[in-house]
Structure formats: structure tokens, C-alpha cells
């Protein structure tokens, strides 16, 4: 019964997770539960391990040489860190949006169609429908529908990031991970992404890492505060910001360090 635990409700249960880079412990004994169809944010100073924690959820850490993970992440009754779990299959269910917008240097259409294509959708009509739906869900369809054949590199930074969100949606994931998705964007583009995230949680579980506390307060339902690789405090966002239990959390939120 190694990886059968009762969380058929679609939540992610992280228990005793350690992540090492070579010999450096980046995430230390983190345990929490990320609920379905909510926005969960991780905050904390630079280097606290919040991005590493996020990248454990779709095993992107494994792409870095010398990275090791201990502990369990249970999703739908399966420990996704188990060596029998195929990271390729896992990532087709957990999408990711990165810090810097990273569209492929090809057309807008091809950017969105890339994921479905590799996952076996070949029919042009099916692809067209997925592209349209993804772009609409990411609230960028109206801005790009007339120029789907143009290079994605010609879009503005904010548009590129929404394109990347659409690209992640196109693989029809259940969970979307976002690694500081607004840190490279201006305030107007940031607002658009934040509105979008609010929209997305109707259908997806969203996990977001942000260095911007106000952002976490604005958009998340649950917040975790990390410091030096440890999860100091985790709870409902309102509670964390208004009534933090841990002294470190309070200090950080009051802006006294970080």
C-alpha cells in the first residue's frame, strides 16, 4: 500500500518532502495539502525553496542534474514521486507557466497546438478547436485570432504570458503550476493575468509561487509561507495575512525582512 492513500477528491497531499540539489537541502520536510479548484500561493524571500517545491509537483526538478527528492506527493491516490510514475504522463496532467514568458519561436497557432500534437491529436479540426478554446480560456483569443499564423515572438510580454497559459491549458491539465508568472510584466498585464487566474480556478487547481505578497493576498485562497527551505506556516490566505500564527510569517508580512 505504498502509494494508496485516500485523497480521491483531487487534492495534492505533500508529505515529508525533501529536495536536494547535490548536497544542498533546498526543501526540508514539507507537508501540506493543496485543495482542488482553489488557488494556493507560496510566498517567501528569494531562495526559500518555493520554486523548488512547485517544480517538485510536476517533477521538473528532475531535469536538473544532481537533484534528489524524498517524501511523497499523493495525487488521486498515487505517489507521483514514485519511480514507476512516468513524468511525461504526469506533466500532461499538470501544466506549468514559467517566470519569463517562453513562447516557442513559431506561430501563435503552433505554440498552442504543440502540446496536443505530441499527445497524439492529429486531426486539423480537433486541433483548431483546441487552439480556439485554449486561447479563449486564457482571455487572449480576441487579441490574436486574426493573426494566428504570425510569430508568437511579436506579441507583448503580457500577451506572451497569456499565450503560455493558453499553451498550458491546451494539454487539458487538471492542475496548473505558475512560477512567478507576473514578475516580468507591467502592472496592467499583471492585472489581466490575475483576473485570468481567478477565472481559471473554476476548472483547475492553481498553484502559484510569487514574491509579491499583495498578489498572493489578492488572488489566492490558501497561502504557504516558506523560509530557508521549510514551510513555516500554511493556511487560509485571510488568516495568514490578518492573523499569522508564526512570528516569522508576521515579520515577513509586515515587511521586516525578505
Amino acid at each position: 500500500m505504498e502509494y494508496k492513500e485516500k485523497n480521491e477528491d483531487g487534492s495534492l497531499i505533500i508529505s515529508n518532502l525533501d529536495v536536494y540539489y547535490s548536497n544542498m537541502l533546498a526543501v526540508n520536510k514539507v507537508s501540506l495539502s493543496i485543495p482542488k479548484n482553489k488557488v494556493t500561493a507560496f510566498i517567501g524571500p528569494s531562495g526559500c525553496g518555493k520554486s523548488t517545491l512547485l517544480r517538485a509537483l510536476n517533477r521538473m526538478n528532475e531535469e536538473i542534474e544532481g537533484c534528489r527528492m524524498n517524501g511523497k506527493i499523493i495525487w488521486n491516490g498515487i505517489n507521483i514521486l514514485d519511480s514507476k510514475v512516468d513524468p511525461v504522463a504526469l506533466r500532461s496532467k499538470i501544466g506549468m507557466v514559467f517566470q519569463k514568458p517562453n513562447p516557442f519561436p513559431r506561430s501563435i497557432y503552433d505554440n498552442i497546438a504543440y502540446g496536443p500534437r505530441i499527445h497524439g491529436i492529429k486531426n486539423k479540426g480537433d486541433l483548431d478547436a483546441i487552439v480556439e478554446k485554449s486561447l479563449k480560456d486564457a482571455a487572449i483569443w480576441e487579441e490574436v485570432c486574426e493573426r494566428l499564423d504570425e510569430s508568437a515572438m511579436g506579441l507583448s510580454g503580457g500577451q506572451q504570458q497569456r499565450l503560455c497559459i493558453a499553451r498550458a491549458l491546451a494539454i487539458q491539465p487538471d492542475i496548473i503550476l505558475m512560477d512567478e508568472p507576473c514578475s516580468a510584466l507591467d502592472p496592467i498585464a499583471t492585472t489581466k493575468i490575475e483576473d485570468l487566474i481567478d477565472e481559471l480556478k473554476k476548472n483547475y487547481t492553481v498553484v502559484i509561487v510569487t514574491h509579491n505578497m499583495q498578489q498572493a493576498a489578492r488572488i489566492s485562497d490558501f497561502t504557504g509561507f516558506m523560509y530557508l527551505g521549510e514551510l513555516i506556516e500554511f493556511g487560509e490566505t485571510q488568516q495568514i495575512f490578518e492573523n499569522p500564527k508564526h512570528e516569522l510569517t508576521e515579520k515577513y508580512i509586515m515587511g521586516r525582512f525578505g
Binding site: 506533466r91 505530441i118 499527445h119 479540426g125
Partner: protein, 632 residues
């Protein structure tokens, strides 16, 4: 009172009077002249090729039309015929054949190295590629004729000289260029793009093929073009292994002659003087034009990579038709955020097993490219050791060449090579470093500078046998140096100058701009800044580059084939003496029908390889020490 203080910068009432430092002006002028040598060298090449070609074409026995359309190349005899098509077909057969083999191997190896190899695998593979790049072409030529050719003769019925052996060996020879340029361009693909693909559930193989390779496509194309240019200009492999009979055939088992091999045939004196010799210049001109064109194309592609960040949105190449226009949609769209467009569910599970199988097979095949390269290198080294070790002894190193293989040695040959390289270094190093310093630190970005840069780039791509023609025309004949060490080393200098300039420029560009600004901010002149704060830090890089350039010079055969004399059997004692050099000796002994001499060629190769190894080791030590001492 102020007047008593010695203030040299005071001039009348203007404390900021501009000084003119004669020494500094002179130094910059000298470096300018050094950089401008690129023009003179380029003109010398053009003069050589045009002068010789004009002499050839003015002959009543030659017609230009027949030269370009004739199908017979019979340069000597009672009724000579100069139709270049057989030489062209030979060149295309060999260069084309080797690029066909080398492209998948080289690109595959680069894909493996950049995308799949862990640190350990690449720490083994990289030196192998570097070794393959460092082995002189004469050694490849030996291997083609003495090792590969007999196999082809036995199993495929190839003739003694055959194109296939040259193709096989040359494809490995140009492999390192393709690997290193493709490798660079694939490494330059932003990590974020790879992560984006992996995070969508693409396998590493799919990411490599569908994201990394397209993003690096310009670099990959450039690498293939550069490899092709190298294959077209390569002389020694084809001169040794492919034969000396110009045939209009694309059969790789028969013997063919390439353009370079014909020039080499003239150089070795196998062709009686007269029209056949001036024909070499016309052939050289055609060869030069072709390689120039290909290098030019490669340069254009590289430019496209450098500009790649800027372009894109304006580029509307293919028109993509959207079946569903926003307002004429088949679907009823109320709000863009909340739509109930029905889409097909992705079921990645169904294809997953197959995709992993493809990935495994793909990784295995690109990995095997490196295995092939390693095996090739292993066989090459072992067969040379096998043939060369038995006759390698003190006697061989200290005696003189002889017609009797039992007592023949290479003492004057080693000396000749050392003289050549030392002189080449004296001639080329100061000039090249001066040119590089001028170009990176002092040159304004104007048309003249751009022309200089262009010319230097082009010079780096000129086939080495063309430099042989230049050496013969300019140094041996025009300057009257005769077939001497002086002429030989000057010829080699021409060839390695662009290499040293480019590596020195790289080293200079690696010095942070802030160092220069700090010195300039303290009131140092431009030359003082460069002298004290740029050159010292760039020195290790320059030295490493120069040693590598020299190690290339010591292994070069083609450029000195015209100049080295077979008859110089005593050690030279003046720079005007005739000389023999290691690679030239290897060439003649490899061609010798007697096996004993072929074995001596192998022994000489071993000596050459040891020298090369020592020089490379020195370069590596300098590089590592400077990196260890570097605190910025």
C-alpha cells in the same frame, strides 16, 4: 606658486589641452597597418590566382568555354585537354559524399551531447571530438590509403585508389566542425524553451527534435556549410587516397581526382612544367570561388542567428488560414472567457508507450554517433601504432632520410618542422595580435573596419592548397626566396594569421567592459588602458589560441607541398636553405609503393602526434591555470 609644481598637462591657460603622445600614436598606427595586412594578403591571393589563370587562358591551346564544359582532363601528353568537369565531379562526389555521412553523424552527436549526455558522458565525448579535430589531415590521408582502402578493395572490389576511402575518412574529419558549431547553436537555445516543452509532457526526445533543433536550425545549417567548405578545400586525404586520374564518374569505388588533388599533383612535381602547371592556378581560382561562396552563405546564416532575436513579427511567410473566424464562427460565442466549445479530449495514455519507444530509439541512435566517432578514433590510433611503433627508435630520430628504408631517419625533417614553426610564430604572432587589438579596441565601426573583418573571415576559409599557390607565386618567385624555409614559414604564417586574430579577439572581448571604463575614468589613455588592463588579462587566451594555431601549422602539408624539397636530406643551417617537414615526409612515404616506407610514414606520424599532443597539453595547462587564477 602653482607654477612650481610640475604639471605636464598644463599648456598655457588650458589645463585640458589635448596631448599628442607620439609613442601611442605610432603604436596604434602600427596595429592599424597589421590589421590592414588582411587586404594585402587577400590581394596576394587574387593576384596569384588571376595571374596564373590569365597565363593559362591566354595560351592558344586553351579555350575558356572548353575549360568549363569539357569532359576530359588530360593535362600532359601530346594532345592535352583541359575540361574541368571531371575534376569538379570528383570534388562534388567526395565532398558531397562525406557531407552526406557527416551531417547525420555530426548533428546526431551534437544532439546527444547537448540534450542527453550527463557530465560523465560528455567529459569522455568532448575530448574525442577535439582529438578528431586536432589530427592533421595528412594522418587521415594515411589512414584512408593504408587502412580503409585495402578493406574496400578486398570486400567491394574497389580500385587501389578510390573515392570511397576518401569519403569515409573525410566524413570523420569534418565531423568535429559540424559537431562543435551545431553544439554551440543548440546550447544557445534558451533553457526556458526546453522547460516549456518538457512541462507540457513532451519527452526529452520530442523536446530535442521539435523544439531545440528547429530553434537552432540556422546554426545547424551553418555547421553543415562550414563542413562542406572544409571538405571541398581538403587536399591531403584526396591526394593520397582518391587517386590522380581525373574521371567523370560518380562511382565511389573508382579512382577520381579532385581540384585540390590536381593542384597537389602539380606541387609534388609529378606533372611536367608548362601549361599543366599554370592550369593549377585556374583550378585554384575555381576552387577558391566555390569555397568562398559556401563560406559566404554560412556567414549569412550565422548573421541570421545573431539577428534572430530582433525579427519575427514582421515576417509573414506562410499564410495560415483560420477556419473559424471570430465573428463568423461556427460556434456560438457569448463571452470570450466563458465558452463551452466542445473539444476532443486528449488521451495521451494511448500513445505513451509508443512515444517512449521512439524516444529510446532516438537517443540510442544519436548516442551511437559518438560511439562511431570513438571507435573510428580508436582504430585509427591503434593501426598507426601497430605500423609505426616497430621502426620508431633513436636511430630513426637521429639519422638522415635514405632510399634504404632500413637506415632511413627523420632528423633533418624534425629540425625542418621546428624551424618552420618557430619562424611562422615570429612572423605571424606580433602581427596577428596587433591586428586583433586594433580591431577590438581601437577600430571605429566604419566601412573600412567592416571590410577588414570580412576579409579576415574569408581568409580563414581559404583552402590551404591555395595558400600553397600563393607561397609559390609570391614568396618563392616574386620575392625570390626560392624553395626555402623562409618562403615556407611565411606561407604558413599567412594561413594561421586569421586563426590567431580570431582567437585573440575572442580573448579580448571576454574582458569585462568595466575594467576599461575604470581605467579610462582615472584618466588613462586608450593605449594605457589596453596595455595595462586588457592585454594582460587576455594573454592566456591569446597564448592558448596561438599554440593551437601553431599546432595546426606544424601538421599542415598542402601549403608547403610546393616549397618543401624532397632532396633536402641534410639539416638546414640558414633560413634560405631548402627543407623537409614532417607532414611532407609522411606524404611521400605514404605514397611509396614499398610497405617499409609506409611503416616509416606511420612512425613519422607518431612523432608528429607526440609533438602535437605536447603543444595541446601546454595550451590546456595555460588555459586551466589562467582560469584557476582568475578572480573575476
Amino acid at each position: 606658486m602653482l607654477g612650481k609644481v610640475n604639471r605636464p598637462y598644463f599648456n598655457g591657460n588650458n589645463p585640458f589641452h589635448k596631448r599628442v603622445d607620439l609613442k601611442e600614436t605610432l603604436i596604434v598606427k602600427l596595429m592599424f597597418v597589421a590589421a590592414s595586412l588582411a587586404i594585402i594578403v587577400s590581394l596576394a591571393i587574387l593576384y596569384t590566382l588571376l595571374n596564373g589563370s590569365i597565363e593559362f587562358f591566354l595560351s592558344p591551346k586553351v579555350s575558356i568555354i572548353q575549360f568549363f564544359t569539357g569532359t576530359k582532363w588530360i593535362p600532359s601528353g601530346i594532345d592535352p585537354s583541359f575540361g574541368i568537369l571531371p575534376l569538379l565531379s570528383g570534388t562534388v562526389l567526395i565532398a558531397g559524399g562525406s557531407i552526406l555521412i557527416a551531417t547525420p553523424l555530426g548533428v546526431g552527436a551534437a544532439v546527444y551531447l547537448t540534450q542527453f549526455a550527463n557530465k560523465k558522458a560528455s567529459s569522455i565525448a568532448k575530448p574525442i571530438i577535439e582529438l578528431l579535430a586536432g589530427i592533421p589531415s595528412i594522418v587521415y590521408g594515411f589512414f584512408a590509403l593504408i587502412v580503409i582502402s585495402p578493406i574496400l578493395r578486398q570486400y567491394f572490389g574497389a580500385s587501389y585508389f578510390n573515392a570511397a576511402s576518401a569519403i569515409i575518412v573525410m566524413s570523420v574529419m569534418i565531423l568535429p566542425i559540424i559537431v562543435s558549431v551545431s553544439d554551440d547553436s543548440m546550447r544557445a537555445v534558451p533553457r526556458e524553451l526546453k522547460e516549456a516543452s518538457l512541462a507540457m509532457g513532451a519527452t526529452k526526445w520530442e523536446t530535442a527534435i521539435k523544439v531545440v533543433m528547429p530553434a537552432a536550425s540556422s546554426g545547424i545549417i551553418a555547421s553543415i556549410l562550414l563542413g562542406l567548405a572544409r571538405a571541398l578545400g581538403e587536399t591531403m586525404v584526396v591526394a593520397l587516397a582518391a587517386g590522380n586520374v581525373a574521371r567523370l564518374t560518380l562511382n565511389p569505388l573508382s579512382q577520381v581526382q579532385t581540384m585540390t588533388a590536381y593542384i597537389a599533383q602539380v606541387a609534388t612535381g609529378d606533372i611536367p612544367p608548362g601549361l599543366a602547371v599554370s592550369a593549377a592556378f585556374a583550378v585554384g581560382l575555381v576552387l577558391f570561388a566555390i569555397t568562398y561562396l559556401i563560406n559566404y552563405l554560412a556567414g549569412l546564416v550565422v548573421l541570421r542567428i545573431q539577428n534572430a532575436g530582433k525579427i519575427t513579427s514582421s515576417k509573414k511567410t506562410k499564410k495560415f488560414k483560420i477556419p473559424i473566424k471570430n465573428n463568423k464562427s461556427n460556434f456560438n460565442i457569448i463571452s470570450s472567457n466563458n465558452n463551452d466549445l466542445k473539444v476532443k479530449r486528449i488521451q495521451s495514455e494511448t500513445t505513451l508507450v509508443n512515444r517512449h519507444r521512439v524516444a529510446k530509439f532516438g537517443i540510442l541512435s544519436v548516442g551511437s554517433c559518438l560511439v562511431f566517432a570513438s571507435v573510428f578514433l580508436g582504430v585509427l590510433i591503434i593501426s598507426i601504432l601497430e605500423q609505426g611503433l616497430p621502426s620508431l627508435n633513436i636511430n630513426f630520430l637521429t639519422s638522415y632520410p635514405s632510399a634504404n628504408p632500413a637506415i632511413a631517419g627523420i632528423y633533418p625533417v624534425i629540425l625542418g618542422s621546428i624551424y618552420l614553426v618557430v619562424l611562422a610564430m615570429i612572423f605571424s604572432l606580433p602581427v596577428s595580435v596587433g591586428a586583433a587589438v586594433y580591431l577590438t579596441e581601437f577600430a571605429k565601426d566604419n566601412a573600412y573596419t567592416r571590410i577588414l573583418r570580412r576579409l579576415i573571415q574569408n581568409l580563414a576559409g581559404v583552402p590551404s592548397i591555395v595558400f600553397g599557390l600563393v607561397g609559390l607565386t609570391v614568396f618563392v618567385r616574386l620575392f625570390g626566396f626560392g624553395t626555402s624555409i623562409l618562403a615556407g614559414s611565411l606561407t604558413l604564417s599567412l594561413m594561421i594569421m586569421p586563426v590567431i586574430i580570431v582567437t585573440t579577439e575572442e580573448a579580448l572581448k571576454g574582458i569585462p567592459k568595466s575594467f576599461r571604463e575604470a581605467a579610462r575614468g582615472l584618466g588613462a589613455t586608450k593605449w594605457q588602458t589596453v596595455r595595462h588592463h586588457v592585454i594582460p588579462y587576455a594573454l592566456p587566451g591569446t597564448l592558448t589560441g596561438s599554440i593551437l594555431a601553431l599546432s595546426r601549422a606544424i601538421g599542415e602539408t598542402a601549403p608547403i607541398l610546393f616549397i618543401a624539397s624532397v632532396f633536402a636530406k641534410v639539416a638546414p643551417d640558414s633560413i634560405f636553405d631548402g627543407f623537409l617537414a614532417l607532414p611532407v615526409t609522411i606524404f611521400f612515404w605514404t605514397r611509396h609503393p614499398k610497405v617499409e616506407f609506409q611503416n616509416l610514414a606511420a612512425s613519422t606520424i607518431l612523432v608528429l602526434l607526440v609533438i602535437l599532443f605536447a603543444m595541446n597539453l601546454l595550451a590546456i595547462i595555460i588555459r586551466q591555470r589562467s582560469q584557476a587564477n582568475r578572480d573575476w
